[in-house]
């Protein structure tokens, strides 16, 4: 990708096609059922429709059902999806985290078996990484898997499992090696069938009121040995690959989404008045809005500059940590600005503005997680201190 968004002709055509498709097909908030189960079904349908149109897994290998196109094309499409306000794909964990790991580390059989079903959302995936006692310190995880008679016997507890209650498969990090190995090398990645006996899923209600996270309990779950991803002891390496992948490529569609939110905020500030003056006409509000906009734009410029490495086939490097930090900062600033500026008007609780208020309240609450999930702000700073600045280790 060029440094700026001067798209080559092919990519410009793709962008226009995607834009036209989305204008016709994006379900509105009102189109989606309120009940969670029905909603998930509708979202599966949405992802499948996009997949059939060529907008999901566009850069994944053709032989497994992908589009076989250059990675930049998926980024073009993802930015259009964000701009159109399309609902997030229900199999986001499969698409962003486990799918890329399967493609990179999986056997031919594993890839044949799973990739197609990830792409069209017939099988939803979740990730079992974090544990109650292993958050930022992921390598201290305690979930164990012992190989016995051709099966790993898996026991332990996982948490923050997005869409665990709807998932058919889970990528689980478990300790398979004895205490003799350094702790990072004792971890393996297992592909666990969520329908197996001994798997217990308990949804957790988040501060936003939704229950998209679950806790998972594994009680001597039998996992066939063939469901090991890569080799025993490779789990840490795979987890770092997937997290870096997520950090490196998510920023461009994310900044598009943030720009749509910024426009939405400006519109809301124009709609509402306080003491007879539109909130948007207040110079203080305009400056706060500009500062939020600057954060989003700089995220865009920086992500475009750093993603070049990834697109030219390189691994996602430690630069992805600076993108991740800017992404959290931009999102949190925008959301906090919205709540601060709309605050007085939100307190008036005009019923006509209920949905808009609820959107900003939820966006604000969820934004606080942006500097926690996928490696906390502090972990990202440590990565930069170690790997970019080469400062002495703690």
């Amino acid at each position: 990708m060029a440094h700026r968004e001067r798209l080559p002709r092919d990519e410009a055509r793709l962008r226009d096609e995607a834009r036209a498709f989305l204008a016709e097909n994006v379900p509105s908030a009102a189109d989606l059922p309120r009940s969670l189960d029905a909603r998930i079904e509708a979202l599966r349908g949405w992802q499948a429709r996009c997949y059939r149109a060529g907008y999901v897994g566009r850069a994944w290998p053709r032989e497994f059902g992908g589009g076989g196109r250059p990675p930049v094309e998926q980024i073009v499409v993802d930015q259009e999806l964000a701009a159109a306000g399309a609902p997030e794909f229900v199999n986001v964990v499969g698409l962003d985290v486990l799918g890329p790991s399967l493609l990179r580390f999986g056997t031919e059989r594993q890839r044949q078996r799973h990739i197609g079903a990830i792409l069209d959302a017939t099988q939803i995936w979740c990730q079992g990484f974090s544990e109650p006692e292993a958050g930022s310190d992921l390598a201290s995880l305690r979930t164990r898997a012992v190989l016995k008679d051709g099966h790993f016997v898996l026991s332990g507890q996982k948490t923050w499992v997005s869409w665990g209650q709807f998932a058919r498969w889970c990528g689980v990090l478990a300790r398979t090696e004895g205490p003799g190995r350094p702790r990072h090398q004792g971890i393996s990645m297992l592909i666990v069938d969520m329908d197996s006996p001994g798997v217990d899923v308990r949804p957790m209600t988040q501060i936003t009121g939704h229950a998209e996270f679950c806790e998972l309990f594994f009680d001597d779950v039998l996992v066939p040995e063939e469901n090991l991803l890569s080799n025993r002891g490779d789990g840490w390496k795979i987890a770092m690959y997937t997290l870096g992948h997520e950090r490196g490529t998510a920023a461009l569609p994310r900044q598009v989404k943030l720009r749509t939110w910024l426009d939405r905020l400006a519109a809301a500030l124009g709609d509402r008045a306080l003491d007879g003056r539109a909130l948007l006409d207040d110079p203080g509000a305009q400056i706060a809005l500009a500062q939020a906009m600057i954060g989003i734009e700089v995220l865009r410029y920086h992500a475009q500059r750093t993603v070049g490495d990834f697109l030219s086939g390189g691994a996602v490097g430690p630069e992805s940590s600076s993108v991740k930090l800017l992404m959290a900062e931009a999102e949190q600033r925008l959301a906090a600005t919205a709540v601060e500026l709309l605050g007085p008007a939100m307190e008036q609780a005009d019923p006509a503005e209920h949905d808009e208020d609820a959107f900003w309240e939820e966006t604000y609450l969820y934004s606080r997680a942006a500097s926690v999930y996928g490696g906390t702000r502090q972990i990202q700073r440590n990565i930069i201190a170690d790997r970019v600045l080469a400062l002495p280790q703690e």
Binding site: H3, L280, A290, M293, E297, L325, N382, V388, P392
Partner: protein, 373 residues
């Protein structure tokens, strides 16, 4: 690490760095650099081709920002900013410009930019300095302040009003009726000056008025913002390097201080600010080179972001240095001073945020009007 530069751009960046390592002094010594040393460094830069802008040359905004970044990193004291910004502002119209101005672009004179007046901000719209008709044609009357490198400038680009409208005039810095005085500055190495114009005559070929003047002035503000920001990023990058090196050597409590998480995190944040600041400058410079209508907005974003961010980097570095940074001989304050001056020039962060905020509000109002129509 330099992502996404062409080979030629990397070459320019490295060459200017090498040139400055050879010709210029260490940051700790800049206060004692002689006028002769300043002239020599400037001559070397001009011979290298640092003013090769417009028809003859090949340098666009991206390349000029790379040069400015290197100058900032070395804290060089040369009349580059004004010389490059004026040429960059005039270059697209070089063919249709009055003769005197066209010659300025292709010439090798150092140019000083005279925008500010006592009590004025960085809006070129309402200059008190006037172009009035005298017996022999137009004359400049008024007083300008905070003209960088005034003593070294061969030519001055003066923002004035002509018949109540914004105009730009160019005059030799030693013209009759022009009195130059040094002016105190927070960074004394940028060599600010004031200029009084007592009916300084300007030939008709050296005045630009009307809509063309507005276009050139807008472009001058955009180019100046970017070059100032690029210099600040360069200065921030250097002081950050020094702080990282220091953190890797200095020992307290029996440990290298760079192993303390509190300092590691300060430096990591400073790194993100500095690198993303360069991304912003780089993007806006490429937009300007492409003739993108959004270039002015991107430059405002970069200037606002870097004006705050580069200062933050300097503050962080000084915190890591601790007490030693507060001795006059330590270079830390030299970087802080340079960054502070660049943060002000062509509008500080607040100036650009106000402007961007107003534009956002206007755009939202327009789309409301469009939506209800």
């Amino acid at each position: 690490m330099e992502l996404e530069l062409t080979k030629e751009q990397s070459w320019i960046s490295e060459s200017v760095d090498t040139l400055l390592s050879r010709e210029w002094v260490a940051p700790a010594d800049i206060i004692s650099a002689s006028a002769e040393r300043q002239r020599r460094t400037w001559t070397a830069l001009v011979e290298f081709g640092a003013l090769g802008i417009g028809d003859e040359g090949e340098l666009g905004a991206v390349e000029l920002c790379l040069i400015a970044r290197a100058l900032g990193s070395h804290l060089a004291s040369v009349p580059f900013l004004g010389s490059a910004a004026v040429r960059l502002a005039l270059a697209p119209q070089a063919r249709s410009l009055p003769a005197g101005m066209g010659a300025l672009v292709s010439g090798q004179d150092a140019i000083g930019i005279a925008v500010l007046e006592a009590g004025s901000g960085w809006t070129a719209e309402r200059a008190g300095t006037r172009l009035a008709r005298g017996s022999d044609g137009l004359e400049i009357r008024g007083e300008k302040v905070t003209i960088e490198q005034l003593a070294a400038a061969g030519q001055l680009a003066v923002v004035a009003t002509l018949d109540g409208e914004p105009a730009v005039a160019v005059t030799p810095a030693d013209a009759a009726g022009l009195t130059r005085r040094p002016q105190r500055c927070f960074d004394e190495t940028v060599l600010m000056g004031t200029a009084r114009f007592d009916a300084v005559p300007v030939p008709g070929g050296s005045v630009l008025g009307g809509p063309e003047a507005r276009t050139v002035l807008r472009r001058l503000m955009t180019a100046g913002s970017l070059l100032a920001a690029a210099e600040a990023v360069g200065a921030a990058g250097h002081i950050l390097d020094l702080a990282c090196r220091y953190a890797g050597q200095r020992r307290q409590f029996g440990r290298t201080i760079g192993s303390f998480q509190a300092l590691r995190h300060i430096l990591a944040d400073a790194y993100v600010r500095q690198e993303s600041g360069w991304s912003a400058v780089r993007y806006a410079a490429a937009a300007l080179d492409d003739g993108d209508p959004e270039a002015a907005r991107a430059a405002s974003i970069a200037k606002a972001y870097v004006s705050r961010g580069a200062r933050e980097v300097a503050h962080s570095a000084m915190q890591v240095f601790g007490g030693i940074a507060f001795t006059a001989e330590h270079p830390a304050h030299r970087f802080l001073r340079r960054i502070s001056v660049r943060a002000q020039q062509f509008g500080d962060a607040a100036h650009h945020e106000r402007r961007l905020g107003r534009e956002l509000a206007e755009r939202a109002a327009r789309s409301r009007a469009g939506g209800t129509a």
